[in-house]
Symmetry: C2
Subunit: 185 residues, 2 copies
């Protein structure tokens, strides 16, 4: 499986990879322990700063790590990682090393201690921006503070979960920019 | 453009149409006025009740209507509505009748006063569930109280926004259900 060559990417453009709604892999670390979680419930909340909201249930072992560290990395996987995405989602809360278990390569981030996933073409280092609704709903608001993207991946074959074990794979691109008011682009 | 024949749909399965991350059309009504807004920033937050979070900025005229009424309908459009989606996104805050202006058919819902959009294959009637982060972030949490879906649409060609006027069109379906632990389905 390829390890992507990621480079610094503008924070204001993070939405390009998250707004389409792909399943992502959230990596975390605390006290020398790491975890990876498969996550479908997330959304953009602001351009600048780049805010991302997501649900991380206390039933997920990652909840403990991101809460204690106030940090995570949101990694965007593509079709070639489909099996690992499912297998990670199947493996709950145990103290296995998921990088080793699922053959993924940890990469050191520049700001947070949670590792990026080498096999993902985009990784976003995040710090907790707002935790007011964690207790009530497991809802975390993250601020992306460093973005890493392999820009040679122009139309990523991301996976989008439909429930029941069925995914939608990202299809054709449709450029409607000519129809937009310039200030809306 | 077809008007879909929608029928009652189980609330617990609403996620099947929202979790993949499509751009949606949010319709609202208050005091005899209606509005439609193109929305890309939303996410599932809970299965039961079916909770959906979204950002509706005060800059959107819809903000006023959904806030005053505590209601909305989330409609899921497909490829044939691509131009209307962009045009609705381009038209800001004015008091035009967007149903007339963009050739869309209002359908009476069963619970809320906001109209459903006939040209969308799925419409979810919502009531406000949690408004604690409206002031701070424009973040609304909706509870879907009635779902209407044309179930003959099995692999909807939804549109997923990449920014810069570019959309990803929903592609192939990938069934990995055999790989899931039964309790994860």
């Amino acid at each position: 499986m390829p390890i992507y060559e990621k480079h610094d990417y503008p924070l204001v453009d993070v939405r390009r990879y998250l707004e389409p709604g792909p399943v992502v892999l959230l990596s975390s670390a605390h006290n020398g322990e790491t975890d990876i979680m498969t996550m479908g419930w997330h959304m953009m909340m602001e351009f600048t700063p780049a805010l991302v909201g997501c649900i991380i249930s206390p039933a997920n072992h990652s909840h403990e790590l991101v809460r204690a560290s106030g940090e995570c990395v949101i990694n965007v996987p593509t079709l070639e990682l489909a099996n690992q995405m499912v297998d990670i989602g199947n493996s709950t809360g145990t103290r296995i090393d998921k990088f080793k278990e699922f053959g993924l390569t940890p990469q050191k981030g520049t700001v947070v201690s949670a590792p990026m996933i080498g096999e993902c073409f985009a990784s976003f280092e995040c710090k907790l921006a707002n935790g007011k609704m964690i207790d009530e709903m497991g809802f975390f608001v993250w601020k992306v503070i460093k973005a890493h993207v392999d820009k040679t991946v122009t139309a990523p074959k991301t996976l989008h979960y439909r429930g029941g074990g069925e995914f939608m794979v990202a299809g054709d691109s449709l450029d409607l920019s000519a129809r937009f008011k310039p200030e809306m682009l």
